[in-house]
Amino acid sequence: MNKISLFIIIGVVFLGVGGGVLYFQSDTLKGPPEPTGGTFPDTESSSGNRPSSGGTGESTTGGQGSGSATEPTTGSTGGSPTTTKPPPPSGTTGANPPPSGTTGSTGSQTTTQKQVQEMDAAATQYGSMNSSVQGLDDSTSL
């Protein structure tokens, strides 16, 4: 084997190794492929009952799930591209989700405020009943 052949062989090996490295690096740099944006499980989409706090999904709509099948494009940090998208981070499912842009605690606060108002209104009605009872005379004879 002459020098030229040896040079060619070394060159081919070098290029092969280098190309492999570059290919590997390019995959590494790209990171894991983005989620495929698969559909929610049926239970998710049908309930439409999204976490009140929005969890950590960082969706562009402030964590408010609309119940549609569209996934937040930047919401997930994990998940294999070959598997279905995991459900959004679990969160409390308050009975009354707060309005968009507010936190879960504010939602319960609003609920409490409403309950106090309802108590107040009912108490007023009770007061009228009490006044009516007190105003009736059951001691008068004919």
């Binding site: 606060q109 309950q115 107040d120 007061g127 007190q134 009736l136």
Partner: protein, 228 residues
């Protein structure tokens, strides 16, 4: 002849006796009025009419009181007003008879009928007032239970979202327990038509409910979290 009694206050039995005395035949030489009447006849007639009018006025006052009360159910209102109106109609019929009477004997007979009728129905206003009171008390009991349920719901949430107010929430819980007991007692008193117990419980419950609402407002204000 002088009669010293007050139509509005004197017991019916005494009134009966008094009017019976008034019904004696006019003495010889008494003034004769046109139509065959006498001074005794006219006085007796007027006293009977006054007795009837006083009773009718009391009935009308009770009817107005019930009619204007917005808390009484329509069914209870109908029952009580019909009862009172039937008594009033009977008394007005007696009134017509008294006016039509021409002799002292007729007046005596009518007077006896009226007195017996009044004795028989003397408690009609009381009875119907009790019905009306019991009717409202049933609604008040339900309303008190409703308030207690709302308070329980709110307290349950606040124990989680506002643990810093635990002491106040504990007090409100005790008040809620008391309110539920009052509501049950009020319902029992209403069913028994125990007006005195109803009035007492209704008043105590009113005070309790006001206190609960005030406490709830304080707790709710203390738990305000700024909106993000």
């Amino acid at each position: 002849m002088t009669y010293n009694f007050k139509v509005h206050r004197i017991p019916a039995s005494l009134l009966f006796a008094a009017i019976m005395l008034a019904g004696v035949a006019a003495p010889t030489g008494a003034i004769v009025y046109p139509g065959g009447g006498s001074a005794d006849f006219t006085i007796t007639q007027q006293k009977i009419l006054a007795l009837i009018d006083a009773s009718v006025n009391r009935l009308n006052a009770a009817e107005t009181n019930i009619q204007n009360n917005t808390q009484i159910s329509s069914s209870a209102k109908t029952t009580t007003l019909n009862s009172l109106n039937s008594i009033e109609s009977a008394l007005l019929a007696y009134r017509t008879k008294v006016l039509a009477a021409t002799t002292i004997e007729e007046l005596q007979a009518i007077n006896q009928e009226i007195l017996q009728y009044l004795i028989t129905n003397k408690d009609v206003i009381k009875a119907n007032a009790k019905i009306a009171i019991a009717d409202i008390a049933q609604s008040a009991s339900a309303k008190a239970s409703e308030i207690a349920a709302k308070a329980e719901q709110m307290i349950k949430v606040l124990y989680v979202t506002c643990p810093s107010q635990k002491s106040a929430l504990d007090s409100l819980t005790q008040q809620t327990v008391q309110l539920k007991a009052n509501a049950a007692a009020l319902k029992s008193a209403a069913t028994a038509k125990d007006s005195a117990a109803v009035k007492s419980l209704a008043q105590k419950t009113s005070v309790l409910v006001k206190s609960m609402v005030a406490n709830a407002k304080v707790i709710q204000a203390a738990c305000v979290i700024p909106t993000l």
